[in-house]
């Protein structure tokens, strides 16, 4: 088995003149549940479609499970499961029919496993696809992505449009069905709180590039927020890894990545009376990376 499930090097993609991906580098370790974060329109779906060979990149390389995903798109698709955001299927088909139809594309489709999934996901084979609720529709899409025992499952914003209960139910199924089977899960979402409990690795995509990637725990440990009363001459812009600086009355909150004792000492020098250090949740880390001002506002002021 390959150690890296997905490997992307300097991937570029544009829609005409509009550049969407500008040199994406990404490694997704095999067996991980990989949270792929990004705001709406950040390029998450574009990256996934490119990896599936549905559109041609303007540059760069990508391999999935050791296969070049542009040259061997069909072989890659045989070995992966994919669920698109707000997956639309043939409404006139019944659940049983669509399972049979999709099974036709995969030589290793496991019908026994699929039947089991039908029960687990509480689906009825006689129900028409158009009659399914949003949650059931997502469950069916998940089932269709898993029926051939893929080594890698790519879920592109799979809970989009689901209510909170359906979302939790779906995520529970994802964990139940995938985590125990050593399947790599590439989970793209803009909802951080749904990724946080399940993802062991994270990548943040913003402006067409990967801002941060790493293990979820490492990310949590490395990003810190400091609350302090700054000296008048304090210039935070020189602190390496500065993500965000916010003024709140007399005090300032400074968010820094890869936090080390050296950086802490530097901050102490800028403070009149020391600082308070706090750990951030994934939501706050994402916010710091994506909309953090990196001290520019302060410098300008």
């Amino acid at each position: 088995m390959t150690i890296t499930a997905i490997e992307i090097k300097d991937l570029h993609f544009s829609y005409g003149r509009k550049k969407v991906l500008t040199g994406v580098d990404l490694d997704v370790p095999a067996g991980s549940i990989f949270g792929f974060l990004g705001r709406n329109g950040a390029g998450k779906t574009t990256l996934i479609k490119t990896l599936l060979g549905l559109q041609k990149p303007s540059g760069g390389k990508g391999t999935i499970l050791g296969l070049d995903c542009f040259e061997n798109a069909l072989e890659v698709r045989k070995r992966i499961g994919y669920m698109a955001e707000d997956q639309q299927m043939y409404g006139w088909m019944r659940v049983g029919q669509i399972i049979n139809w999709v099974a036709g594309f995969y030589p290793n489709w496991d019908m026994t496993f699929t039947n089991k999934l039908v029960d687990i996901l509480r689906l009825s084979k006689n129900t028409k696809v158009k009659a399914l609720s949003k949650g059931q529709n997502s469950s069916l899409a998940l089932l269709l992505a898993l029926g051939h025992h893929p080594e890698l499952v790519i879920l592109d914003d799979p809970t989009l449009g689901l209510d909170p209960i359906a979302r939790k139910d779906f995520l529970r199924h994802v964990i139940e069905l995938l985590q125990s089977n050593n399947v790599t899960v590439f989970f793209s979402s803009h909802l951080l709180y749904e990724i946080e409990p399940v993802a062991d690795h994270i990548a943040i995509l913003d402006g067409g590039v990967i801002r941060k990637t790493g293990k979820t725990e490492d990310l949590r440990d490395s990003v810190r927020k400091f609350l302090l009363n700054p000296k008048p001459e304090a210039d935070f812009s020189h602190i390496p890894g500065l993500l965000d600086v916010m003024h709140s009355g007399e005090s300032v909150s400074v968010t820094v990545e890869d936090c080390t004792d050296e950086k802490r000492d530097q901050l102490k020098l800028f403070s009149q009376n020391g600082f308070t250090e706090t750990a951030l949740n994934l939501d706050e880390i994402f916010e710091a990376y994506v909309i953090g001002n990196k001290g520019q506002q302060l410098a300008a002021g």
Partner: protein
């Protein structure tokens, strides 16, 4: 990929389209079969009830094509199947094939039903109908493929269908509208197997299919909106109308008047000296581009009446002799000093029984007569010559007359006579050649080779005129359908154009105009060679067929004038390739052009009539209905196109 499952899905996806189309197409044949059954003829369908579904099938094939891929190419749904391990091209190709098969199944259903049920009842299918079915199947293939392609790009059923049908119409019509030199295209292209037509439908279908595969594979998506589409459609219709208008109405009508229907029916315009006469009664004045009719008719004076009564008839008609004058409507006239003379070949036949209820004319007498025109329009007989010895009773009748300066050449069947017009209008026989036209035939020679026609040898006639007469005799007089031929075709008109030392002539058939050059001539023969051809376009052949070769057409001053029923076309035959100059058309089914005359200033005078049949309840208890015709005549002055 398990193809069977994909095909099954495809059939299931199309089943409602299939059933709906089948229901629609089978309604008429089933209805006809039921009616036939009720009439005691048995349960079968044939004819029109099959033709309509076959034609409607072309529209439905487009719908099936759009329905076929609509679900798969929906903006969000296409990701679903594209993310599966299947090549987009093979998936779409399979869908195309299955859909095409189902479309053909639907379209063929009424035909198969008709064929089988007719066979069971011993009915035979018309061959032309079989050709029609094949042609419409080809159009269905084209409609299906083009709509499939449009939906692959547009991804909206209704819009794709509209665009697809517009493209199909364009593809089908444009090759016929434009004067491409397709030799086997004619107005009834749907009833005959044309290789060009097959090439267009099959070629365009194949191209549409291949481009569809690339469009889906590369996810090409054309954004359309209905409003834009309607504007595009309206623009296309406008452009088509412009094209059509150019085809049908670029000859300007300077003036038009309604005339007494009786005169219009007689319908001939005759040039006598400087005047143009309508129906030998009215002088047509076209000064200042306005038409005015001057009634030349006034009762003959007493002196003239007496004079006419005093003249002995040149022939006392026998009881069973029927007269047949030539020309019937046009006038051959010659002016000596101030006096106008006209000439006519008066022939007489008896009716001979050839079957139980049918008879055939047997010509017995023929006289060439000259008349002096007195008091404008009255003919006073001057002299007559008996030409009965030219008649061969065993042969079909045909006659012709050509005046060249002071000579008349009279043609009767295969013989001809040369007559001298004397200073007092009387006639004198110069020579008579019995069976002198035997060497002439309208042969269709190899176009690459020079062919020869025996030169008419008539003393005292210029060589150019003899060449002209020879060609006209060969192709105009010596003609397949001479008994149907218009008087004017030979008597007044010519096939030949003399432009300095260049002599050429034109022939017409249903396919187009052929131009020949007279490359050389001597006392024995004239030598001719095919030069080029200008096929008639589809629009030129629409509404009324242009042109069977017995229709009136003529060459004058380097222009070819062709007219029939609703249309008049003018071509320049002195340019490098035959060039169309103008087209006049009246889109009325009952409109009939009777005659045209090119005036000295170049304008064209056109005489036409309309005829409407009125059916009323009959007061006669033995008859249900009476019918009568309302006729209207028109004289139009047209600008001669340059």
């Amino acid at each position: 990929m398990k193809t069977g499952r994909i095909i099954h899905q495809q059939i299931m996806q199309l089943k409602w389209h299939f059933l709906a189309c089948l229901g629609l197409l089978m309604t008429l044949p089933i209805e006809e079969a039921i009616i036939n059954l009720k009439d005691g003829e048995g349960f079968y369908a044939s004819g029109l009830s099959l033709g309509i579904p076959v034609m409607a099938g072309t529209l439905l094939a487009g719908l099936i094509a759009c329905g076929n891929v609509q679900a798969d190419l929906d903006e969000r749904r296409h990701i679903f199947w594209r993310s599966k391990p299947v090549g987009a091209k093979s998936f779409i190709a399979l869908k195309y094939m299955v859909g095409l098969f189902m479309a053909f199944l639907v379209i063929s259903a009424p035909v198969l039903f008709g064929l089988i049920s007719s066979k069971v009842h011993g009915e035979k299918f018309d061959r032309a109908f079989v050709a029609l079915i094949i042609n419409f199947q080809l159009i269905s293939l084209l409609t299906y493929s083009v709509c499939f392609f449009c939906n692959a790009l547009v991804r909206k059923t209704a819009q794709a269908w509209l665009i697809g049908m517009a493209i199909v119409c364009f593809l089908l019509l444009v090759p016929f509208v434009l004067p491409f030199r397709f030799k086997d295209i004619s107005g009834d292209f749907l009833l005959i197997a044309s290789t060009v037509y097959i090439a267009i439908t099959v070629g365009a279908s194949l191209a549409a299919f291949i481009v569809s595969l690339f469009a889906v594979n590369h996810n090409w998506h054309l954004q359309t909106n209905l409003k834009g589409l309607l504007w595009t459609g309206a623009t296309m219709i406008f452009l088509a109308m412009l094209l059509f208008t150019r085809q049908v109405a670029n000859i300007k009508v300077l003036d038009e008047i309604e005339i007494d229907a009786e005169h219009a029916y007689i319908g001939s315009l005759n040039r006598i000296s400087d005047s143009v006469l309508l129906a030998s009664t009215f002088e047509v004045d076209t000064n200042n581009q306005k038409i005015q009719l001057v009634n030349s008719f006034s009762p003959p004076s007493e002196a003239l009446q007496k004079q006419r009564q005093g003249i002995q008839p040149f022939y006392t008609r026998e009881k069973d002799h029927y007269p047949e004058p030539f020309p019937r409507y046009s006038v051959v006239s010659y002016c000596i000093g101030e006096q106008l003379y006209t000439f006519r070949l008066n022939s007489y036949y008896i009716r001979e029984k050839v079957g139980k209820n049918s008879w055939a004319p047997k010509y017995k007498k023929a006289y060439i007569c000259s008349y002096r025109l007195a008091e404008g329009i009255y003919r006073v007989p001057v002299s007559a010559l008996d030409l009965a010895d030219c008649i061969d009773e065993k042969k079909a009748w045909k006659a012709g007359l050509r005046q060249i300066d002071d000579k008349l050449i009279i043609f009767i069947q295969d013989s001809f006579a040369v007559i001298q017009i004397k200073a007092d209008g009387s006639l004198e026989l110069v020579e008579k050649r019995i069976n002198g036209l035997k060497g002439y035939s309208r042969h269709l020679s190899d176009r690459e080779k020079i062919f020869k026609i025996p030169m008419m040898s008539i003393d005292g006639v210029e060589l150019n005129e003899r060449v002209k007469l020879t060609v006209d005799v060969n192709y105009g007089y010596h003609h397949f359908y001479s008994s149907w031929r218009s008087d004017n075709l030979f008597c007044e008109n010519t096939h030949v154009d003399i432009d300095g030392d260049k002599i050429s002539f034109c022939l017409l058939d249903e396919g187009g105009i052929q131009r020949y050059d007279v490359v050389k001539w001597d006392e024995e023969y004239i030598y001719c060679k095919f030069r080029d051809e200008r096929p008639f376009t589809f629009l030129e052949q629409m509404f009324s067929l242009v042109t069977t070769d017995n229709d009136p057409w003529f060459l004058q001053d380097g222009k070819l004038y062709v007219y029939e029923n609703q249309k008049l076309m003018v071509f320049d035959i002195r340019s490098n390739s035959i060039r169309k100059l103008g087209h006049f058309e009246r889109l009325r089914e009952d409109y009939r052009i009777r005659d045209i005359e090119v005036l000295d200033n170049g304008d064209i005078l056109l005489c036409a009539e309309t005829e409407k049949r009125i059916i009323t309840k009959s007061p006669d208890p033995n008859r249900k209905y009476d019918d009568y015709f309302i006729r209207k005549g028109y004289l139009s002055l047209l600008k001669n196109p340059e």
